[in-house]
């Protein structure tokens, strides 16, 4: 373990933990994103308390925890979506490949292209399927011509496992698709701008089990190509799709480690209670 470990002393507000969360560092090379001592305030209320975590390229990281524990809030700090909330204030340090994303010279627009996001409720634009995917590459100037753009649209849809279902109706409205297809469309839309990290905020909570299974399968396939962080309420889902799991509680990161360890042999009592369904 390196010296990052020292920063992770438990804050005083967390009474039930008597040791620091471990395993925040990445054993396989440099981490894609690192967060150190992140606090988030909504006005006077503190939503995130001293969270430090590393996100790896080759692993899917799941954030679990009871409602209101701050896992979504923290996720939204990672591509600065919290900027849209005027009263939100973030302190600490979050780095993407060593660059501080909250530094004044960091361009938010570019950051959000590099750190894509998939939301809880599928939110395709009320445009055609093609335009939904093509929008990102267009505004970022990623395609050199019509054929290039077509190519990006096809490959994005293919990676999202949606190409076969929509290839004959690319001009249909994206909102006419089913919920699961819409969510895969949103994933394809995020992929189309070629991000480095994809943040997923409970991507399956509005979907039926079959659509959920498809999304989970997709996450498996995307692993390694992008660093993926997924927030989920569903512990089985976390166990199925992730290699690393972080357990949040009351705005603090209680435990972070290999998913198998977290689910079979948690170090913290809080984690064990949550995983065994004692609360949450």
């Amino acid at each position: 373990m390196n010296e990052d470990q020292k920063i992770l002393e438990p804050s005083e507000s967390v009474t039930m933990t008597d040791s620091a969360p471990t395993g925040i560092t990445n054993e396989s090379g440099t981490p894609k994103m690192t967060a150190r001592n992140v606090d988030v305030f909504y006005g006077d209320k503190q939503a995130i308390n001293d969270v430090s975590i590393d996100v790896n390229m080759d692993a899917v990281t799941a954030f679990i925890g009871p409602s209101g524990c701050g896992k979504s809030t923290f996720l939204r700090c990672m591509n600065r979506m919290n900027d849209t909330i005027p009263i939100a204030r973030v302190t600490g340090e979050i780095k993407l490949e060593g660059e501080d994303i909250y530094a004044s010279r960091m361009d938010v627009v570019q950051l959000r292209a590099r750190v894509g996001m998939v939301f809880q409720k599928p939110n395709p634009f009320p445009k055609s399927i093609y335009d939904n995917i093509a929008y990102g590459p267009r505004i970022h100037g990623l395609a050199t011509g019509k054929e290039d753009l077509d190519e990006i649209v096809e490959s994005s849809l293919q990676r999202a496992g949606l190409w076969g279902e929509v290839k004959d109706r690319l001009q249909d409205s994206g909102t006419a698709l089913s919920g699961g297809q819409q969510q895969r469309l949103c994933i394809a839309r995020a992929i189309a701008v070629d991000p480095e990290v994809i943040l997923m905020d409970e991507p399956c909570s509005a979907l039926d089990p079959i659509a959920t299974a498809k999304i989970e399968e997709l996450i498996h396939e995307l692993r390694g190509k992008y660093a993926i962080v997924i927030v989920t309420h569903n512990m089985q889902q976390a166990a199925r799709v992730s290699q690393k799991t972080a357990f949040f509680h009351l705005g603090t990161l209680v435990e972070y480690g290999e998913t198998t360890d977290i689910f079979t042999n948690p170090r913290e009592e809080k984690t064990r209670d949550y995983i065994t369904g004692r609360y949450g």
Partner: protein, 420 residues
């Protein structure tokens, strides 16, 4: 556990008399409400129907004119005018040289006696010049033209006029006929009700509306977008919001005074022009567009904004690529309401001099102009009875203008409407 199985509570008697009375009461209340709704609809439909019947009934007479035939022996009275004189660019000048008025008057005197010209509308002879320009060959033959009669006879023929005029109508009998009053569509204001037309006021309204729309729409939409999407929520923006809401409720005459003070006195813009009228009406319309625009922008689901931000759209791109297109139908609805109000507005325009007697249609935004509602107001104030039906006819034109404008806006709204 006990409370769940407790039997002390009496079982509900769904079939009991009291319950039946309750049900009957509920049904009666529903029926009463339905009946009141139908009465309300019938009342408003009735008023509308009454208005339309009265207006259309009166107004259609405004589009007709009473005419008398006049035989003009062109070869005899013009001493050999050739059709070629009345073709090409010099046609109008040659007509003026010809002294057409005297030619027509003498032809009338031959046919209807020494006082014959009193039967005809003073400006009626212009119909002959229109006829010549239309068909120059007419000057080579003896032709019959139908000229509008004087207003008193027109009124007496169509409806009920003065004793003298009624006597004339009886005397002329079958010679009188009714024709379509083309002048009404092509002329402007005049002192003689037989010669008035709506074209000047229509064109004035059109130009004024264009000025209003060009100013109020972009300013209103930009203000709405900025206030909703960019402006921080603080005291100042609260103050602005309250001010805009109040502005929408300010009586229109006050906007007229404002226009008079600011545009005419301070900036020294030309009086009575469509420019000042349009600016004044734009001040009045803008708050309506801002308010409806803000509501429309507010109703765009936040998930769309997040989706766009999430793939790296800049705030400006979010607004112009996503929020504005989705809000546009709502903004257009507000614009229709605002523009319809502006089109029917009279009071503020009276203050800035658009009530002047203007006999030539405006050809630009700075030319003296009047608008349809002001024209209606002016005609309704005239003493001559001939103006009554002209007023109604002008109202029909105004309503048609409104209808076309709204239809266009609704068409645009439906085109931009996104189905979810």
């Amino acid at each position: 556990m006990n409370s769940l199985t407790d039997t002390s509570r009496r079982p509900t008697d769904w079939q009991g008399a009291e319950m039946q009375k309750r049900i009957a009461g509920r049904y009666a209340a529903e029926r009463r409400f339905k009946a009141m709704g139908i009465v309300a609809i019938a009342l408003s439909a009735g008023f509308l129907a009454f208005l339309l019947v009265v207006m259309v009934g009166n107004g259609f007479r405004g589009f007709a004119q009473t005419e008398l035939p006049v035989v003009i022996d062109f070869p005899a009275v013009t001493s050999g005018a050739s059709p070629s004189q009345f073709e090409g660019p010099n046609a109008e000048a040659n007509l003026q040289v010809m002294g057409l008025r005297d030619i027509v008057d003498s032809s009338i005197e031959i046919q209807y006696g020494q006082d014959g010209t009193d039967l005809f509308s003073p400006g009626g002879w212009t119909a002959v010049s229109a006829e010549i320009l239309n068909d120059p060959d007419i000057v080579e033959r003896k032709a019959t033209v139908y000229l509008p009669v004087v207003s008193e006879i027109d009124v007496a023929y169509k409806d009920e006029g003065t004793a003298g005029a009624e006597e004339q109508v009886r005397r002329l009998g079958d010679q009188l006929s009714t024709g379509f009053n083309w002048n009404f569509l092509s002329n402007s204001d005049a002192t003689d009700p037989m010669q008035v037309g709506i074209w000047g006021a229509f064109k004035g309204s059109l130009i004024t509306m264009i000025v209003t729309l060009m100013l109020a729409f972009p300013v209103g939409v930009l203000a709405a977008l900025y206030l909703e999407e960019y402006a921080p929520k603080n005291r100042l923006t609260d103050l602005i919001e309250v001010s805009i809401n109040n502005l929408a409720a300010v009586p229109s005459i006050i906007f007229g005074l404002l226009g008079l003070a600011v545009f005419l006195n301070f900036f020294g813009m030309p009086r009575s022009g469509a420019l000042v009228g349009g600016l004044t009406l734009a001040l009045m319309t803008m708050p309506v567009i801002v308010i409806s625009g803000r509501n429309a922008v507010k109703s765009v689901p936040p998930s769309i904004r997040e989706a766009a931000l999430g793939i790296g759209a800049s705030p400006l791109q979010v607004v112009f690529h996503h929020v504005l297109p989705l809000a546009l139908p709502g903004i257009l609805t507000g614009t229709i309401i605002g523009m319809a109000r502006a089109l029917g507005e009279t009071a503020p325009l009276l203050m800035i001099g658009m009530r002047a007697f203007i006999a030539t249609p405006p050809s630009g935004i700075t030319d003296p102009a009047t608008v349809l509602p002001v024209q209606i107001f002016l005609w309704s104030d005239e003493v001559d009875r001939g103006f009554v039906e002209k007023t109604s006819a002008a109202i029909i034109v105004l309503l048609l203008f409104l209808l076309v404008m709204n239809a266009l806006a609704i068409y645009l709204r439906n085109r931009f409407e996104t189905r979810w």
